[in-house]
Amino acid sequence: MSLLRVRDLTVAFGRRPPVVRGISFDVEPGQRVGLIGESGCGKTVTSLAVMGLLPDNARISGSIRLGDVEVVGSSDRAMSELRGDELTMIFQEPMTALDPTMRCGRQVAEVLRLHSTAAPGAARERVLVMLGEVGFADPERIANSFPHELSGGQRQRVVTAMALINSPDLVICDEPTTALDVTVQATVLKLLDRVLASQNAACLFISHDLAVVSELCSDVLVMLDGEIVERGTASGIFTDAQHPYTKGLVATSRLDLVEPGSRLPLVEDFYAGAER
């Protein structure tokens, strides 16, 4: 049985036309799926719908099943039992995901305490182990630091520790490395790869950058204007895209294939005369 099963999901805000239009996809246990598309295509709205975090004015239809729980129409209370436990999320900007007034160790421990009955002493122990797992050589010092005392990459690792400490079944990553420097991005991606593998967690990875998705995901969904226009294995999409939009996306990300100084291919080039 699929871990996540989305069917005919449509999301609209207020009276405006829907921003997600009848999409369906599955994520199997341990599978890593990349969801790519440009700003405004509906990828973040999709992830928030799965998390049950859409604002009140969102009108949702269709079905999102996580294991045997139906997310659409679930109460906030039922969802908060899932969130942080079976289902977690890593956001783009780690500074806004962390509480600036709380030491990092306590923030990670809070996730643990909310979902288990571990004694406070034991919680601290597990937090330090988890901080070690996300690559900190000195977990003690990090646990005692406030978020502003850490660099962007360190903060994103703390957020990763929070997202993974309860051994979730599914981690949703929304552009987790977009705000980071390239070298830090490489470190965080390697780390995510390792921790997801060690916990056998599935992942829905949202990005506009195909190269980043290709580093982490086995499968890819391509989203355009609220619809999934192409799906397949990562290598299949990169070598043999079918939809003109996907072809364009692949071409625009392959800066390494273009002769320096020459004209870069555009997405429009792949739509033969027709408007998309």
Binding site: T183, E215, S235, F238, T252, R263, L266
Partner: protein
Amino acid sequence: MTADKEMFAAVGLTRVFGRGAGRVLALEGVDLTVRRGERLGVVGESGSGKSTLIRLLAALDTPTAGSVSFEGQPVTGRPERELGFLRRRVQIVFQDPRASLDPRMKVRRIITEPLRSPMIRAELGDLDPDARVRELMEAVGLDYADADRYPHEFSGGQRQRIAIARALAPKPHVLIADEPVSALDVSVRAQVLNLLDDLVDRFGLTMIFVSHDLRVVRHVCSRAIVMRQGRIVESAPTASLFSDPQTDYTRALLAAIPAFRGA
């Protein structure tokens, strides 16, 4: 004028922020020459001193030590009222057009704002603003019919085009682009890079292109400097920077570029 003429010459540029325990050495003894018509890439991570360097070149900040000259004239130590030549001839495009365009101004006013500066008018004489707006909007691929709209009515890529049009308004010699495509989607990135490429050729500009993304710099620039902790650690033609990096740091930056798996 020879092709090799120096646009910028910086000698021993140093910038220190704060004092005591909070003292930060943002830039340390940087020597740099930018030649006419060159496309120079400035590469480095956050905190490497890239932004401090371009702020000093554009005289938006004053060095703690060292000096900058532009087109053979000294810049450092001169009062603002004598910097009109630099203000017109050096223009900057910033990273995030959502932040660099005033949301309360119509596009027409944004683009002509540099032309209203008394310093720039003294340099350029009076231009017909409406004709200039039309010319510039067409040059950057925008529709002149949209001149009376506000920035929020445009997409991210279009807003960056507006910022580029504004930078070109006073007919600059040097365009400094500070991470101009980092806030844009990959699919929009190609459009803006192609546009910059065309404009630099068409108007014979010198470009200083700041980026943390080596892939982009390789595509756009003929030469690049790699910065780390306020110093230039490597300076080379971009092709050899990629094929034969001389420092471990440059190699680390190259290794960090996301690679295509299965392609």
